[in-house]
């Protein structure tokens, strides 16, 4: 397997640094509009359609007015989406609020993000996945995405308002050891299967769910495959087909 060309690595590194500098995660507990627009100002200048961004700001204002203290943090990526974060205790009330007050009647999807860095991450140099190293997990601090976070598991759902033409992504931190939240079925019946999937894949329990059994996996399956500490066995015994064996295009110098 060939080495990555030096210049490409440099370019990728530069791109990454640029992106990191332009998008600081907002960790402050009570977000203000100013911080949000500041973090995204570099992009907003270039974007051709400004009014959708204003719409998101306006919706966020309505949400923060309606939810009050329950809204922990929020994030607007201009023309791309609106993220809010609430506590898992307020999970169902938030959904109720969004459906009733913001006309978000379309239930899009629900899932979980495991923010723990994978202990089985593949290094660029190695052929196989490196083995589980407990200390490596602790070495790497958890970095959360938009709206920040506090715990390893974050519940995320997207609901859409057809009349307003905007989707809202709602996140909620879940307890590390006993991840559980209220089921959304009374608000959105369609959450049923999504919650079953989230339970089997991440081990998140949804209280008041009528039928929380596995949806894909056999009933006696052990473990929760989409958790980051669940090993992907084939990756550990076989060399991983290449990221770096990039061949030069015809007529192009390598």
């Amino acid at each position: 397997m060939s080495e990555i060309p030096e210049h490409l690595l440099k370019r990728a590194q530069a791109a990454r640094e640029k992106a990191e500098s332009s998008q600081e995660p907002t960790d402050n507990a009570s977000p203000t509009k100013e911080t949000n627009s500041q973090t995204t100002v570099a992009v907003a200048d270039e974007s051709p359609i400004q009014e959708i961004d204003e719409k998101a700001e306006e919706i966020l204002e309505r949400i923060s007015k309606g939810l009050g203290q329950k809204l922990i943090s929020s994030h607007i990526a201009p023309n791309r989406g609106l993220w809010i974060r609430v506590s898992s205790d307020d999970w169902r009330e938030t959904a109720q609020f969004l459906r009733d007050q913001l006309d978000c009647r379309f239930f899009d999807w629900l899932s979980v993000i495991d923010w723990m860095p994978s202990p089985y991450g593949r290094e660029l140099e190695t052929e196989q996945d490196v083995d589980s190293q407990a200390e490596r997990i602790e070495d790497q601090p958890i970095e959360w995405g938009y709206t920040g976070g506090k715990t390893r598991f974050q519940l995320i759902t997207r609901v859409y308002s057809i009349s307003l033409g905007i989707g809202v992504m709602v996140k909620a931190d879940l307890d590390d050891h006993n991840p559980r939240a209220l089921s959304l079925i009374p608000v959105y019946p369609g959450a049923n299967w999504h919650e079953r999937e989230a339970r089997e894949m991440f081990g998140v329990t949804f209280d008041e769910h009528p039928d929380l059994r596995n949806i894909y996996l056999p009933g006696d399956f052990e473990g929760h495959p989409l958790r980051k500490d669940y090993p992907l066995l084939s990756r550990r015994i076989k060399p991983w087909p290449g990221i770096v064996d990039v061949e030069a295009m015809p007529g192009e110098e390598k």
Partner: protein
């Protein structure tokens, strides 16, 4: 893996009990349990439906899936961004190119790259071609599920022309894997535009044929009208999307209302809706959409701009940290990718929002107090692809 907490154990026991409940057929005095699938001709794939019957009336029906679960969400975490398209190609295998687009668009959003106009045009054309290739089969298959064997042959015959056009550009009939971050792999071959016009004419004729042969048939109407009616509120709450939602009277199309990265705003076209919400409405809307797709492609073919097909992107793609959700109006409905990046070569987490999963989640609701034949016609009209449910 050991049980970490009491709740885990309880959930595990509950799941065991529930699975046993499903797997062992319970015969009671009230009726009979009918197990449709996983090997059943009408489930085209490996869906399993357990129906409790009273005579031929369905008291309750429950879909069981997972026979084709391939764990794409986990696999994406060990693939580089360009490699992921190979996986997501196989989600909805009838309209494969359409699966790649939302993922590529999500990655482009995170990288703040925009494909050049020509690439966007060709993407939209291929996207709509795969919609035709997909829905065309539905039009024939729905008739087959209702008992008319002939239309499906016409569907396969005319779909071939569309597949040929896709193959001529991408080199692949089923899994093109043609979309790249920042553009497309190749440009259009010579003479392709004219050939595509010919294929579109075939498709328009095919739609007329289906309208006469299937839609206008009294028996077809008797079998589908008023069957499996889904009111708009229920459809929204269950997350139905695509033609299923529009057949319930909701005038919402991602191509028009939340378009990202494709050039639908350059075309004069119409979103078709039907107020009834029954199986017939779903067939009708899909038929009109196939026609509309021909119309869209026809307009786009005439206005393809010249220029490069690839934006400047680094050879080794590292996507800056961030989160993005991009959904497109795929043949089956809304397909979206929620991509979480931590600045690596691989996505940190990809949530695949596939249309059929949500479309099928309404099945237990809608399959009540219908007859056994209606199970088949309703499922066929909801139109699922197993790979799109199980991912």
């Amino acid at each position: 893996m050991s049980m970490t907490s009491e709740s885990d154990q309880l959930a595990y026991i509950a799941s065991q009990a529930a699975d046993a409940r499903v797997n062992v057929e319970v015969e009671t005095d009230e009726g009979m349990t009918l197990n449709l699938g996983p090997q059943h001709p009408a489930t085209h794939g490996t869906l399993r439906i357990i129906a409790k019957l009273d005579g031929e009336k369905v008291v309750a029906a429950e879909p069981i899936m997972g026979y084709m679960h391939r764990g794409y969400e986990k696999l994406t975490e060990v693939r580089t961004y360009p490699q992921v398209t190979t996986l997501v190609n196989r989600i909805d295998w009838l309209g494969s190119f359409a699966n790649e687009v939302p993922f590529i668009l999500a990655a482009e959003q995170l990288m703040e790259v925009e494909a050049p106009p020509r690439a966007q045009w060709i993407r939209t054309i291929l996207f709509e071609l795969s919609r035709i290739a997909n829905v065309c089969l539905f039009l024939g298959d729905m008739a087959v599920q209702i008992g008319a064997t002939t239309p499906v042959f016409y569907a396969f015959r005319d779909r071939e022309f569309v597949l040929n056009q896709i193959e001529r550009v991408t080199g692949g009939r089923f899994h093109p894997n043609f979309d790249r971050i920042g553009g497309l792999k190749d440009d259009l071959p010579k003479g392709w535009i004219e050939e595509t016009r010919g294929a579109l004419n075939r498709m328009t004729d095919f739609c007329d044929e289906m309208e006469e042969l299937v839609l206008g048939n009294e028996i077809f109407q008797a079998r589908t009208r008023g069957i499996g009616t889904i009111p708009s509120d229920v459809a929204l709450a269950y997350g139905l999307s695509g033609a299923n939602l529009r057949a319930s009277g909701i005038d919402w199309d991602i191509r028009r209302d939340a378009n990202v990265g494709l050039v639908y705003d350059q075309v004069d076209w119409k979103v078709w809706t039907h107020p009834d919400g029954d199986s017939f409405a779903r067939f009708w809307v899909r038929l009109q959409e196939t026609r509309e797709a021909c119309n869209i492609i026809d307009q786009l073919l005439g206005t393809i701009p010249s220029g490069p097909i690839m934006a400047k992107v680094p050879r080794i793609i590292k996507v800056p940290p961030g989160e993005a959700y991009v959904a497109t109006e795929n043949p089956l409905g809304e397909m979206g990718f929620y991509v979480v990046s931590k600045g690596d070569l691989t996505p940190f987490r990809v949530k695949i929002r596939s249309a059929s999963f949500s479309n099928m989640s309404i099945a237990p609701w809608v399959l009540k107090d219908v007859f056994v034949p209606d199970i088949i016609s309703i499922l066929a009209s909801l139109y699922f692809i197993l790979g799109d449910i199980d991912r």
